[in-house]
Each structure stands twice: as C-alpha cells, then as structure tokens.
C-alpha cells in the first residue's frame, strides 16, 4: 500500500470530524500517551488543546532534550536556479512573474559553495524552481559533484523525480530530500496550481516514498502554512511522517514548518497561522515523532526563532539568501520569498550559545556514501 492509498481514506471531512470531536478529556489522554495514536494527533491539534499549550510545550521540550541533547544543526540554502514553468500562486518564482531568470553555471555554483563553506556551513540544501529541459537531473548531479568537496551533507529541494532520478542523486552524493506537498487539500491544491507539471498532486505526494525507495538517508516533508487550515494540514503531515517512518525505517524523517512570506506577486495567506498556532503545531509534531528533525527556516523573525528553539526545533538555516547567486552579490533581487531573520551564521551561533545550545555544523560524513576509497 502506498501512502496515496492511506491518504485517500482520510478525506478532509473525516479529519475535521476527528479534530472537532476532541475535548479536554481527549487532549489530556493524548498528553499522557507515550506513543500518539491518530486520534491523539487530532486531539492535540484541536482548539481544545489550546488551553494546554504550556503543558504541550514542556513535554515537547523535555522530549527534544532527551533525544537530541542541547544541540542545533545549522544549514544553508543554495538557490541554483529561479527558472520555473509553474504557476504556484504563492511563489515569487511563478512563471507569470516578470523577473530576471537565471541558472547558475557550474562555476558559479562552486563560487557560492565556497562562500558558504568559508562561513562554516557543512550541510547545504540545493534548491531550484521546476523547469524541465533547462534544469534537470544531469545538471543537478553535476552541481552536486562539483560542490561535494566543500560539504559533508547535501540536500535537495527540487522538482519531484522518479525513483531512478533519486537513485542518480544518491549516487552523485545527495543524502537528503525535501519535498513539500504545500497543501494536502486536493481542491485547494488544484486552485493554487493553475498550470504546469506541479498540478499533478499524486505524483508530488508519492515523491517522498520514491526517494525513500531510492535509499535517501533522510526525507523532509511539510505543508506551506497559510494556504489551508493548519490543524488539518498538521494532521496530514503527521499521517505522512508516520507512514514514511514505518516504511522507510532506515531513513530519518524531517518535518519543516514554512509559513507563507511576502513574495513577488503579492499573494496573501488564505488561512493565516498565528504564532501560537505555530507553537502548537511544532510541539505536536515533536510528540508524534520524537526522533524526527524539526526544521525552521529564516522565514521567521529573529525573536520568534529564539523562542521556538526550545520547543522541539533541531535544525535551522542561517544567513540565507533565496535568490540564485545571492551569496556572491551585494543587492539581492528576484528572491523566492523575503527572509525575516537576517542574522549571519556567527550571530546565530552566539545566540545559540547564549541559550545554552551547541551549534553543530557537521553531523554527517560523505564517507557513508562515497565508495571511491573502497
């Protein structure tokens, strides 16, 4: 059974009913259970759980320290291309937006990689828009090979590939895949993606498990917060994470919490997510998946990020640029979204140390994948 089969059994109405049915008794029950059942997940995401936010946070905090200690892993995104043939209404790279489009040459990729390496980063995430023909597997594999000497861990957040494509990425040196479903609500997904290959909801939904089958060591998922009701999205993300963890048990599952940010095109969140809601969501995901990496990007403000750290977050980006070539340039243009926390890596490290955390730049070694030295 693929995740799609399981997902299709959970219609939005059914999920809504489960969430609506939860009262204080269900929330207390869920808070007491060591392993969350699906009904516990729904209860903790429900409005009834809002009165238990501090308890939820305390439990998430204890669990995180128990499993991860006081460490936070740092990574940096590297945008390779802003070419895109899709029309995602919420995205600055939307094909309808007029902007300077560019794809970094392999030399430019290397130049950016060097800058990030000098800043101390060893975990890097490569991002592209979706432009089949212009930016494809062969280019990505070449870029990965080019920057391998600079990084111990290379992650991709690009268009969904078939299993062969993912295997090709693993062979090139990629160990982590991130693919957000954006929204798990089919009808809304259709509206938000008027044209382009990304319209294929099912193909995207099953990308994570194709990556798992291809042997990627960690798989990141998430919903873009602000598109649909965060409680339901949280339920689906949890369902998906649990499925992946059970079926691809050799891979770590990462969960991200991207909240919609202003972008070219001026899209306004359809279902805004408050700070309190974000806190609830992060804590619930920690309780559901005690050993998953929970990731927070620079979309959030510096002060909010500092406060969210103890609640379950284990990975953050720092000093990010969201436009191709952004690290080497002074003025950034044509970014995918506006970042909020603009502290550089050094500032983030001092903040982490001040909070009693150890910033970790390297937590993986390419030797696990390299077979050149055998």
């Amino acid at each position: 059974m693929t995740f799609l089969n399981e997902f299709n059994q959970w219609t939005p109405e059914r999920v809504q009913q489960l969430i609506d049915a939860a009262g204080p008794a269900q929330v207390e029950q869920a808070l007491a259970n060591e392993h969350l059942r699906l009904m516990d997940l729904a209860a903790l995401l429900s409005p009834a759980a809002e009165g238990y936010l501090e308890q939820l946070a305390q439990r998430a905090h204890r669990l995180t320290q128990q499993r991860f200690g006081k460490t936070i892993q740092l990574y940096a995104p590297l945008y390779l291309s802003n070419l895109c043939c899709n029309s995602c209404l919420y995205c600055g790279f939307n094909a309808d937006n007029q902007m300077e489009r560019r794809t970094l040459s392999l030399d430019e990729v290397e130049a950016e990689a060097r800058i990030l390496h000098e800043r101390g980063f060893r975990h890097i995430q490569l991002l592209t828009g979706e432009a089949p023909g212009a930016v494809e597997n062969a280019y990505l594999a070449a870029a990965v090979q080019k920057i391998r000497p600079f990084f111990s861990s290379i992650s991709i957040e690009v268009y969904p590939m078939d299993e062969c494509g993912y295997a090709q990425m693993v062979a090139a040196g990629v160990d982590n895949l991130t693919v957000y479903q954006e929204t798990y609500e089919r009808s809304l997904y259709d509206e938000l993606h008027p044209y382009g290959p990304k319209r294929d909801f099912d193909w995207r939904l099953n990308a994570a498990e194709r990556g798992g089958s291809a042997g990627l060591r960690s798989i990141g998922i998430g919903a873009l917060l602000g598109l649909s009701d965060w409680r339901k999205e949280g339920f689906y993300v949890g369902l998906h994470a649990r499925y992946l963890a059970k079926h691809f048990w050799r891979s770590r599952i990462n969960i991200s919490f991207p909240r919609l940010r202003p972008a070219d095109g001026g899209f306004k969140p359809l279902a805004p997510v408050s700070d309190a809601a974000l806190v609830q969501l992060i804590c619930v995901m920690r309780l559901l998946m005690p050993d998953s990496a929970l990731v927070l990007s620079t979309r959030e403000s510096a002060s909010l990020r500092d406060h969210l750290l103890p609640l379950g977050i284990t990975q953050i980006s720092a000093g990010s640029s969201t436009s191709p070539g952004g690290y080497g340039q002074q003025a950034e243009s044509s970014q995918q979204f506006a970042i909020d926390d603009d502290r550089d890596a050094e500032e983030i490290c001092s903040m982490l140390r001040a909070q009693g955390y150890d910033p970790v730049f390297k937590d993986w070694d390419r030797a696990f994948l390299d077979n050149s030295n055998r």
Binding site: Q26, E28, Q29, L31, A32, N33, E34, H35, R37, M39, L53, E54, Q55, A57, Q58, R59, H61, R62, A245, K246, H247, W249, D275, A276, V279, S303, H307, P310, L311
Partner: protein, 256 residues
C-alpha cells in the same frame, strides 16, 4: 466489528492457543473450545500428518480452527523450511508459525536463521508468522521480507513471567506495519490483558493453560483478559498524571 486480520483473512478472536504440554488430548480439546480461539498451533514434530486419525489432530476441529503448524524443534533455517514444506505436502494450508530455536534450554529464537527461513518460505508462497525475540530491528527486517505478522516473546517460553520485554514490544507495536502477536511467557490473564492494552494485535498462550489443573477454565479466563485488554486499548487508558517539572514557562512570549 474489531476483527484481527492476518494476510487478508479475518479472525474474531485475538487469542491464539498452543497445543503442547497438556496432560491429555481431552483436556487440550476442552481448553481450545473454551478459549474461543480461531487459531491453534501444533508442533509438526509431534504429529503424524499423513495419518488423519493421528491422536492429536483428531482432537482439533479443523473446520472451526485454523491449524497453524509450527516448526518448533528446528535448529536452523534449513530444518524449519523442510518441516514447513512437509506439512504443506501433506495437505496443510500454507500457513506456518516459524520457530527456529537451536538453544534447547530457554528455546530462544535464532534471529539470523529465522530471517533466512522467513525469506525462503515467503518466496515459496507461505504465510509466515515468525516467533522472535522482542527485537524491533529484526521485526522490521522480517516485515520487509514479507512475513504476515511478527510474534515477539514476552518472556522465554514456559516461564509464565509475563511481558518482561515490555519496552521493546512497545517499540515493535509503534513501528509495525503487520499485526504484532505477543507470544511466549504469558502466564496469567492479566499478562495477556497487559499486552493487549499496550496495543498488541493478539497473543498466543500455551503453557499457562496446559499446566493448570483446569485448562478449560483458564482458557476462558485468558479469553476475557484478551478482550478486556483490547477494549481498554481501543477506549484509551486513563492518563497517568505527569507532573510538569518546575521550569520557566516556554510559551510566555506569546503573551508579551
């Protein structure tokens, strides 16, 4: 209703019963009936499958119970596979409780040989229910080769000690994509209830029934224990209050 499904086949009872060690076949038959069970395991080494009037088999109503041959006595994969194939050749359904127990003292399962045998038998078309130590990673490997359940032990066979491997069984249950049957070591109905409360899909008992003076009565008691545990699991057990540690509020910033 809340049925147990194994390899696409449903069973009303979540109690499986073993047939060894009973003082007589009559007492065994009475226990099987009182247990309400649908699945009965039989040690292949003890029956003469070719003889329909074999004493042991004659006491098991094969229309009512799924006869689950087990390979107890097998010391390695090869012996287990041979036994399973013999049973099938003699007309048994291709279901097998896989036991590979080279150690004659505690009868602890050999994880490596069990995995090997499971792989061969699954490819051979068997529905395989492997008896294992409560090892979560082994359970995953077995699921991956296609076993229909995993059957972790609660304690060594015949010890009546209960769910001593509780923490590991909890992990197996949390991560399983096939039914988890707690097998071996359960000595009292409360042990069976405990396993079911934890979320096990079924339990298997033998010694606890076989060595009591009134096996039928004990079988009925186990049936109730299993049912009570299952109901409690479905209802959700009451919260054990977890006093929050005195620490500064983590969500205070939301009100600033």
């Amino acid at each position: 209703m809340d049925k147990l499904t194994i390899a696409g086949r449903s069973f009303a009872s979540r109690l499986m019963v073993g047939t060894g060690k009973f003082a007589s076949n009559e007492l065994m038959a009475a226990a099987l009936n009182a247990s309400g069970s649908d699945i009965v395991t039989v040690a292949l080494r003890r029956v003469d499958i070719d003889k329909p009037d074999d004493d042991l088999l004659a006491h098991i109503d094969r229309d009512r119970f799924l006869l689950l041959p087990n390979t107890s006595g097998a010391r390695d994969a090869e012996e287990a596979v041979r036994l399973a194939r013999l049973a099938r050749a003699a007309g048994c359904e291709p279901w097998v409780k896989l036991e590979v127990t080279p150690d004659p003292y505690y009868l602890l399962p050999d994880p490596i040989e069990t995995l090997k045998a499971a792989e061969i038998l699954v490819k051979d078309g068997f529905t395989v229910l492997p008896y294992i130590n409560a090892d979560p990673v082994l359970a995953k490997h077995l699921q991956e080769v296609g076993t229909a359940t995993v059957m972790p032990l609660g304690a060594p066979i015949g010890t009546n000690k209960g769910v001593r491997t509780r923490d590991s069984i909890a992990i197996i249950i949390e991560q399983a994509i096939v039914p988890v049957v707690v097998d071996a070591g359960l000595g009292a109905p409360s042990h069976a209830a405990e396993a079911m409360e934890m979320g096990a899909d079924a339990v298997l008992v033998n010694t606890a029934l076989a060595v009591t003076p009134d096996p039928a009565r004990m079988a009925a008691a186990f049936a109730k224990g299993v049912e009570a545990g299952r109901e409690a699991y479905l209802a959700g057990l009451g919260a054990i209050k977890d006093q929050a540690e005195a620490s500064s509020p983590l969500t205070g910033f939301l009100r600033d």
